[in-house]
């Protein structure tokens, strides 16, 4: 019992502790990075269960803000290789289980 309780607690702790956005790789300038990160957080929180909608929202917002041809991938597990315009890539984790990759290439 105690073990499971502890495990549960750990789980909760893990969820709580790992809820913050963690940027894994980016070459964006500071301002753009912060903005994009916040956008990703909002989108993922808004569409917590629908990665597609979240990705759509991020892509459209990015297109509007920084010019067209943005691409967004959100998922819990995927491998990828992308070509991107320099200074226009962000790869981050969020919420403990989501990976978000945002890049621009026209």
């Amino acid at each position: 019992m105690a073990g499971t309780g502890e495990a549960k607690k750990e789980e909760a702790d893990y969820k709580r502790l790992h809820s913050f956005p963690l940027i894994r790789h980016t070459d964006m300038p500071e301002e753009m990075r912060v903005e994009t990160m916040e956008l990703c957080v909002t989108a993922c929180e808004k569409f917590a269960t629908n990665n597609e909608s979240a990705a759509k929202m991020i892509k459209e917002s990015m297109d509007k803000k920084f010019g067209s041809s943005w691409h967004v991938v959100i998922g819990e597990g995927f491998g990828f290789e992308v070509t991107h315009e320099v200074k226009n890539l962000l790869y981050m984790f969020f919420g403990g289980s989501l990976a978000v990759c945002v890049w621009k290439c026209s």
Partner: protein
């Protein structure tokens, strides 16, 4: 119109004569009928050319005459035109013959009556005459009738007729003509066409190519364990960071004390580096800003004084004020004897219920905007005195009974010496302090008087203040026999030492009495004057005359005494509580007093023994009370302090500082002797009748 048609017919005839030979005969037949009805006219005769008609008055000439040639030459000149026309030329201002004469003579003018068949006017005319289009056609038909006889011999005419007739005979063509709407032609006779072409700009081609934005590739795999690892790593990093920061913070705490002191030191250092320069600058700026005041201070003399035989005026100069001392009232003023532009101001409060902090500030006339020195004090300052020789030393008496000595040469705002309870400080407010000449061991020393009834001498020994009671005041004349017996203490409020006689001094008390005491007799008063009915605010020896002193009190009076006589020599009622009184340093007979109704009174006894020669309110607000006044030892100005912390400087007009005229040829006596004599003269005037009455 018919003529017109006929003409057109004739024109076209050559072409059409052969076209319709069949129709010709029919037409000719119909014409013939018409001609029969016509009775015949001139046309017929002209065409035939058989009979010659002559005018009746024609000359009958023979053949020979007829053949004779008569030559006539036609010229372009008009024989009737005048040859000698003269016109006035405005250009040359004279009459000039004009060479150009109009040679044209018009003999005959005939307006044309022909109209174009299709023109608007023709149509209108037709409509007016009520003739249908057909009649026109008929008309045209009529005319050729006249030419009928010709048709036979001239086939040309025939053709035209035939064509015409053919046209006429088709009724449908006529109908179509009337029905058809012709396009409107605006002007058939005056028509021009124009065209132009612009240049075509040459075409040019230009092109460039930008580099595509640089690209990079990025590869990664997102898996749950990757994400988890990343988060864990990040959290660990954060934790270590926190620990580091904590360590740094604690370290900082340790350093803080050190740093602060360092900071303080560096700060003061920084200021002192530029201190002198900035002070000079401040003075320059102030001198510029208050240039007019400085000019007044130096050069302005009230010219209107000449016309006022005795009275004088005060000219306001600088006003001194320090923001942090706004709520405090000026309780003491003292000029620096060495630097005549510098004076000290003691700030505190006379109000028993509003006691608190005080301040000692130094102002210079050269900078009215900000004090030269500032010493905040925990208790209100009530009195101060600047040492005459060592002008950096200032003795200060506080409301809490302490006395202290500040040194301008030392940094910081702490006093150099301060009395404590252990070292015999007063138990009541210290009302006056006064430096004494150095004692036998060359120690500086000063005296103080307080409400606790003691007059104490303080000696500055190395780093402590040594006190000696000079006298204890009590209500009954015979003074305290022992310390344990307290037969009602007389509260000293002011005192002054005699200028020449070292040991002699006067003490004013709260009860209104003035005691003449000696330092050598601590148990006895030499004399007691029943001077005032209220507390004595100030008592001061005359600068010149050794016997004369002045006292003032809240009972509205100022009195002048000869210390050998215990009744006042002069009494002046100023109609308000008198805060302070001061002898002028330049004349034995001039003194000034300030009253609580914000007025400065200046008297010159040698001019007027009964009234002030100047009474001038010096503050804007009525409520403000003036508390102290002091003459500058050199310049003809006074400073006046009020209960709002302001110090005003005022210039005395020439009438207020008149000197007695020196008779020529006489040995000029010393100033001081002369002044003494002046006072003596006044006193003797008063004494003699008194003595005579006694």
């Amino acid at each position: 119109m018919p003529n017109n048609v006929a003409a057109s017919m004739r024109k076209g005839s050559t072409v059409q004569k052969v076209v319709l030979p069949g129709a010709k005969s029919t037409k000719a037949a119909s014409k013939k009928k018409d001609e029969d009805e016509d009775p015949g006219d001139g046309w017929d005769e002209w065409a035939q050319g058989k009979a010659l008609i002559k005018p009746p008055d024609q000359l009958e000439l023979s053949e020979a005459e007829l053949k004779e040639e008569i030559t006539r030459i036609l010229t372009a000149n008009n024989p009737h035109a005048p040859q000698n026309i003269v016109r006035y030329s405005f250009k040359e201002r004279s009459y000039k013959p004009t060479s150009a004469v109009d040679q044209m003579a018009v003999h005959f003018v005939l307006e044309g009556s022909l109209l174009h068949e299709d023109s608007d006017e023709a149509r209108r005319l037709r409509a007016k005459e009520g003739l249908p289009e057909e009649t026109a056609a008929v008309d045209t038909g009529v005319e050729p009738d006249e030419e009928e006889p010709e048709t036979s011999d001239t086939p040309v005419e025939d053709g035209g007729e035939v064509e015409e007739a053919g046209e006429e005979d088709r009724p449908d063509s006529v109908a179509s003509k009337t029905d058809r709407k012709e396009p409107k032609v605006t002007n058939q006779f005056n028509f021009s066409e124009r065209a132009s072409q612009t240049l075509n700009n040459p075409l040019r081609e230009r092109s460039c190519q930008t580099d595509p934005p640089p690209r990079g590739t990025f590869t990664a795999t997102a898996t749950q364990w990757d994400i988890y690892d990343a988060y864990v790593e990040e959290l660990q990093k954060q934790e270590t960071n926190k620990e580091k920061q904590k360590a740094v913070a604690s370290k900082k705490d340790n350093d803080k004390g050190k740093k602060k002191t360092l900071l303080m030191e560096t700060q003061t250092d920084d200021i002192t580096k530029v201190g002198k320069a900035s002070k000079i600058f401040e003075r320059m700026v102030n001198q510029n800003t208050f240039d007019d005041i400085a000019q007044d201070f130096k050069y302005f003399e009230d010219a209107s004084d000449e016309f006022r035989d005795q009275e004088g005026t005060l000219l306001p100069l600088w006003k001194f004020q320090y923001d942090k001392a706004k709520r405090l009232s000026v309780t003491a003023l003292c000029w620096n004897k060495k630097y005549q532009d510098l004076f000290a101001v003691g700030m505190g409060s006379y109000d028993f219920s509003k006691q608190g902090r005080g301040m000692l500030v130094y102002y210079s006339l050269k900078n009215s905007a900000y004090p030269e020195f500032i010493y905040p004090t925990p208790s209100g300052v009530l009195c101060l005195d600047i040492h005459e020789q060592h002008s950096y030393l200032v003795a200060v008496g506080f409301y809490d009974g302490c006395v202290a000595v500040y040194n301008n040469k030392e940094d910081g705002s702490e006093p150099m010496y301060k009395s404590t309870a252990k070292t015999g400080k007063h138990t009541d407010p210290v009302w006056q302090v006064r430096w004494q000449s150095d004692d036998m061991d060359n120690n500086h020393n000063f005296c103080s008087v307080s409400s606790d009834g003691r007059v104490v001498s303080w000696t500055l020994v190395k780093n402590e203040l040594v006190f000696t009671d000079i006298i204890r005041l009590s209500l009954n004349g015979a003074v305290s026999e022992g310390p344990d017996q307290q037969p009602g203490i007389a509260c000293g409020t002011s005192f002054d030492f005699h200028k020449q006689i070292d040991y002699l001094f006067l003490v004013g008390t709260e009860e209104g009495k003035i005691h003449k005491c000696s330092k050598t007799y601590s148990s006895q008063f030499l004399e007691t004057y029943n001077a005032h009915s209220m507390a004595v605010d100030a008592v001061k020896w005359n600068h010149f005359h050794p016997k004369v002193f002045i006292s003032c009190s809240s009972d509205w009076t100022v009195k002048i005494w000869d210390h050998t006589i215990n009744t006042p020599m002069f009494t002046f009622d100023l109609n308000a509580a008198v805060g302070d009184v001061a002898w002028a340093p330049y004349s034995s007979t001039v003194f000034a007093a300030v009253t609580t109704d914000a007025t400065v009174h200046i008297f010159d006894l040698s001019i007027n023994k009964y009234e002030a020669i100047c009474q001038q309110p010096v503050v804007a607000k009525k409520k403000t009370k003036l508390t102290h006044i002091e003459f500058n030892p050199i310049y003809p100005i006074i400073i006046v302090g009020d209960d709002r912390g302001y110090v005003s400087s005022l210039k005395l007009s020439p009438n207020l500082r008149k000197k007695p005229k020196v008779k020529k040829g006489q040995d000029q006596p010393k100033d001081s002797e002369m002044e003494e004599a002046k006072m003596e003269k006044l006193l003797s005037l008063l004494r003699e009748p008194e003595q005579s009455t006694v």
